[in-house]
Each structure stands twice: as C-alpha cells, then as structure tokens.
C-alpha cells in the first residue's frame, strides 16, 4: 500500500497566556511513500516526526492537507478504520494481560462480518508470535519480559490484524545498545518478510540509515531532504542535514572562496570553478581526510583514538567551528605523535560547501 502525503500540515493552537502564537509542528509535508518500503522519519526532538506519524495513524487530525492510502483518502478516517498497526515508544502493552491476550486483543475487537472464529484467531496469534519469535513467552505478563521481548510483543500485536501500514514510534529508544543493533535487524527482516509499508520515527541517524529504504530528514516541522540513506549522506542539501548524518559528525570550517578556490585559513584547499567570491562553510566528512605531508590543510595534532579497524585523529584548526576535528584514517597509516602539526589532503567528493548566511549547499 503506497502512502501519499499531500501538503500535510499540523498546527497546534496557542496554549496559556505566555504563547499566543500557534505552533506549526508539521509544515507542508509532501511525500509519496512507495508500496512495501521501510521509511525512516529522522530529526531532532521537536521536529514534528512523531506528529507526522500520529497523523498517518489517525491519532492526530491534520490542520491542512490530505493523506491517501493507495487511492483511498483516509484523512478524516478514525484510526480503527485505516488498517494501521502502531508500535508505541513505550510499547503500551497492557500490563494486566498475558502476551497471548495482548496479541489477541486487536482481533477480539473485530465485529460483524470481520469477526473471526476462535481457531482462526489462535492461528493468527501463533503466526504473529512465530514471526517475532516469542512463541515460548505466550503465558507471561509484560513485566516478566525484557525490553527486547516487550518490543517484539508490541510488533506482534501490531501485525496480527494484518495492517496495510505499520508505524513504529522510536522503536529502539528503550533498548540497550547491543539489543538495539539486533532488534533493528529484526525489524528489517520482519518488514521484508511481510512487505508491509512501514514508517518509523527515530532521532538516531545511525538507526535510520542502517535499515531504511528511504529516509526523511526533518527540522522544525519542515522536511529538509528525502532520499536513499547513502544518497542523503553523500549529498546533503544543507548544513543541517550534513551535520545530522554521520558519526563522528562532519567537521565544519569557516572558509572563503577567492578566485575560484576554497581557502580554509591561509591555504587553498580545493578548486571551486564557477563560484563567485564569498564567505562559506566547508564541511568535510571524517573519512574525507587523507594523510599527506604536503597536504594543504594544516592542523594542530591533539591525539589519536584507536577504534580497531580505523584510528580517529583528533586535531584542531583555528577555522574549525568545533574545538576538535575528527578524521578517520586507516590504522595502517603511521602518525608521528611527537609532531605538533599534522597535514591533510582532502577528498573532493567528501567536502561540501554551504552559504555562510543561507547554510544551503553550494554545488561544485
């Protein structure tokens, strides 16, 4: 089922005496989610990603715009008539019911011609439980489960009614780091197996990048960029997106275009043909640095962090916005730690230019 969002807008009315202006949580969101894809809504907290999810779910009514599932306009349908399954951030498993009763709950709500026989219900519950591998936990209460197991039960409960669309709100934020890795693979696998169009919300860029077919980066209610994770990472449209994606984060320098060359500090780093003289921000991905004794970028060496496969060189530069510059270098390279400075060359495809005022990308 493809999902079409047309001019989707949500404004919350002003509350209390302090703020008289209404808050725009989501501003003119347009997107067509292709059938059977896994979409990550990504952004810092307060960017409107959860509100968007709630509007797709039907828990929030859009102020403006339309939502279509396939060809059907569901904008004014209540959530129960949309055929959506939702996994809440804290899972919202009913604590007084067993795992089995929790998964059964949505099926028992069906009435009239949709009503299922008891055997059919049992079969569906078993199938959903098998899919998320919790068949041996069926008689336990949620409080007797680990975070990861609760998460699976919540997914099973959302899947058991065979929804047209699966929605997940911060599905991994309550799990510890190791479980997070495992569970996100799990979600990916389940989504592949069921082929249900899935939208999930996260503030963790790594999470979104690793399992999404497409990511949507949002900021203050406005969509910044939509695309395949690698494309967005390789070609961010503005400084916000560039900063938001990638660990360690991109290194941002204050630079200047003079005579069609990019200068950071005194040295020309890069050719910038056809770009007029102006002040810019230059963002360099950590993996964009190459050790080079004659490189144009000269930094003060701070130290080295060993990360196993790679090493991370920590240095500083007067033009850098952050106090520390992190560059990822293969651990085979040797670094003279006694030296005070370190010189880099820069891979041209790993450096992005942004207008100093607009913070919009300047394409080379």
């Amino acid at each position: 089922m493809k999902i079409v969002l047309e001019h989707l807008t949500k404004q919350f009315p002003a509350r209390g005496r302090k703020s008289r202006e209404s808050v725009t949580a989501v501003d003119n969101f347009n997107f067509e989610i292709p059938d059977g894809q896994l979409i990550g809504l990504l952004g810092p907290s307060g960017c409107g990603k959860s509100t968007t999810l709630n509007m797709i779910c039907g828990l929030e009514k859009p102020t403006d715009g339309r939502i279509l599932f396939g060809e059907e306009d569901v904008t004014n349908l209540p959530p129960e008539n949309r055929g959506v399954g939702m996994v809440f951030q804290n899972y919202a498993l009913y604590p007084h019911l067993t795992v089995k009763q929790n998964i059964l709950f949505p099926l028992q709500n069906l009435k009239g011609k949709d009503k299922l026989s008891k055997d059919e219900m049992d079969r569906r519950v078993q199938n959903a439980a098998q899919l998320v591998q919790i068949t041996e936990l069926m008689d336990r209460r949620p409080s007797e489960l680990s975070g990861g197991q609760q998460q699976r039960v919540a997914i099973a409960r959302a899947l058991v009614k065979m929804p047209r669309v699966l929605l997940l709100d911060e599905p991994l934020s309550n799990l510890d780091a190791r479980l997070r890795l495992q569970t996100r693979e799990e979600i990916r696998k389940i989504q592949r197996a069921t082929k249900i169009t899935t939208v999930f919300v996260t503030h963790d860029q790594e999470e979104a990048m690793s399992i999404s077919d497409m990511i949507v980066v949002m900021k203050s209610g406005v969509v910044q960029q939509i695309g395949k994770p690698q494309d967005v990472y390789d070609s961010p449209v503005n400084l916000f997106v560039a900063r938001f994606l990638g660990t360690p984060p991109i290194n941002v320098f204050e630079g200047e275009i003079r005579g069609q060359k990019l200068y950071i500090g005194e040295n020309a780093i890069l050719d910038a043909p056809g770009i007029s003289d102006q002040q810019v921000f230059a963002g360099i991905r950590p993996e964009g640095f190459v050790l080079d004794k004659n490189g144009p970028l000269c930094c003060q060496l701070g130290g080295v962090e060993v990360m196993g496969r790679d090493i991370s060189v920590v240095s500083s530069h007067a033009a850098s916005q952050a106090p520390a510059i992190r560059s990822i270098i293969s651990s085979e390279s040797s670094i003279d730690l006694s030296s005070k400075t370190i010189r880099f060359a820069v891979k041209p495809n790993k450096i992005f230019l942004f207008g100093r005022e607009t913070e919009e990308r300047i394409y080379l």
Partner: protein, 297 residues
C-alpha cells in the same frame, strides 16, 4: 540486640507507646470485659466469667435489629456508592468544559458538616405540622400520598438512611477514582483506539483492571466504614435510635455504655467484639476475592 536494632526501636517508641496505650491495651481490655459478667467500672467488680454477655447480646431484640440495619446499610450503600462514584468519575474525566467546577461541586458534601447535611435531609424528608417535606411535595405531584420518612414505615426510614450515607461517602470515592483514572497512561488508550476497541470494551478490559487496586481499596474501606455507621443515623433519627428502630451496631455499643439505660460495659464489650469479628471476616473474604480480580503493577 545489637546497637542498630536498639536505635530502630527507640525511633519507634513514641508510636508504639501511643498505639499500645490507646489501641492495643483497650482492645485486650474490651476482650476481657466481654467475658466478665456484670462488670461495674465504678467499683471494678464483676459476678463471674463466661460467655453470658454474648448470649445476652445475641438474644437482645435491639441488637438483632441493629445487626439487621447495619447489614442492610452495608449491602445497599457500599456497592451503590462505589458504582455511582465510578460512573461520575468516568463522566468527569471525559468532559473538558467546566470540569473543575463539577469536581468542586461533587466534592462539597465531603467538607460539609454531617449535622448540617442532616438538617438539609430533614427539610427534604421530614413531615412537620406546616409541611410534608420537599420529597413528599414532589411525590404528591405524581399522586402519591405523603410518606413519613423520618417517623414512618421501616423501609422509608432505611431508604433515607441509605441515600444519606451514599451522599456522604461518595465525594471521597469520586475524588480518589478521578485521580486514579487520570493516572492511567494515555498510551494504552491510544493503542486501544488504533486497534478499534469499543469504548465499553476499553473501560472493562483496560480502565477497570488498571484502577482495580483503587476500586478495591474503596470497597474495603467502604465496608469497614459502613459497618461502623452511627452518626448518620443520629443525624437523621435523633439519639434514641432503639425507639426509632434504626439503631446500628456501633449505636448499640454506645447506648449500652452511655445511653438512657446505660452502664453496661460488659454487654457493650461483647457487642463490640462481635462487630470486630464480622468486620474481620468480611475483610478477609474481600482480600481472598481480590486476589483473582485485582491487578497490581
């Protein structure tokens, strides 16, 4: 006993002292009195020991009337007041406009003086030389003859007592239940909505189990409170409750101690112990039943 233990007991001492002097000692004393025949508190003498006091009390028609009244009161008011309180709190939590105002109005009876409320009920129900009372006026509109609710037939008096009791105990229950309802995480309701759960089913399968500890607490304290009813009957029917046929067990105990013919601490003690046993039994039954139906997170 090591030093830390000693310190602990020292901190507990004031409470233990007070509880011991004003609760444990009297309890034991009452138990002893109840087996001493014809105990006289002035001369501190008695004729003999045995179960005679119990036999007397259990054969006293006034006591049997008091037992009947008390049980009727408990059986009618506890379920009704809890159910009504539940309905009102659910209604209160589902409205937005004027919520605070309604909450205040429903809570007012709780802070109103019992005797002032009694006076209001007099105006509503009492038949005087000048008026038959407000309720009778309404009844007459429907062509029903005036009923004397205060001095009339037994069912009428019991009806007034029950209405009065329910009206007195409900505000507290509404208050507690409203806050219990507010504490249920909204996410459960959202999840239920997405799954297309009907409002009735949400209430029965989600809300009720979530607030079951509170409901259970109200039922237990409601039972105990209703068994100990006394002042409500006095407010409506005056101090001579035996004559009105509206005495309660606690009223009977009081009358035996200080009432008109008073001065029978032995009978009073026996009646008090019987009440204690009844309340204990009911509470134990409640606890047993609750194990199955109350969910504690």
């Amino acid at each position: 006993m090591n030093k830390r233990n000693l310190k602990g007991w020292l901190y507990l001492l004031p409470a233990i002292l007070f509880l011991g002097v004003f609760m444990v000692y009297p309890l034991i004393d009452v138990f002893i009195y109840s087996f001493e025949e014809g105990y006289n508190s002035a001369s501190q003498t008695y004729y003999g020991t045995g179960a005679y006091n119990y036999s007397y009390v259990l054969h006293d028609p006034y006591f049997l009337q008091a037992i009947k009244n008390t049980f009727l009161l408990v059986i009618i008011t506890v379920p009704l007041s809890t159910l009504l309180a539940l309905l009102i709190s659910v209604a209160l939590s589902s409205i937005k406009a004027l919520k605070k105002l309604y909450q205040t109005i429903y809570f007012l009876p709780y802070v109103t003086n019992t005797l002032a409320v009694g006076l209001v009920f007099m105006i509503l129900f009492k038949k005087t030389a000048y008026s038959d009372g407000l309720v009778n006026l309404v009844l007459q509109l429907f062509g029903r003859g005036p009923v004397d609710f205060i001095d009339g037939p037994y069912w009428a008096k019991m009806l007034v007592l029950c209405i009065y009791t329910i009206w007195i105990v409900m505000p507290f229950k509404v208050l507690i239940l409203t806050s219990a309802l507010a504490s249920v995480n909204q996410n459960y309701y959202n999840a239920a909505r997405v799954d297309g759960t009907s409002r009735f089913r949400i209430f029965v399968r989600i809300t009720l189990p979530m607030i079951s500890p509170t409901v259970f607490y109200l039922i237990i304290t409601g039972f105990i409170g209703a068994f100990k009813a006394y002042s409500d009957a006095v407010a409506l029917f005056g101090t001579d409750l035996n004559a009105a046929g509206m005495n309660t067990i606690v009223g009977y105990v009081y009358d035996m101690l200080y009432g008109n013919g008073g001065g029978y601490p032995s009978y009073a003690s026996a009646a008090a112990i019987i009440l204690f046993v009844i309340v204990l039994t009911i509470t134990c039954i409640n606890l047993l039943v609750s194990r199955k139906h109350v969910y504690y997170s």
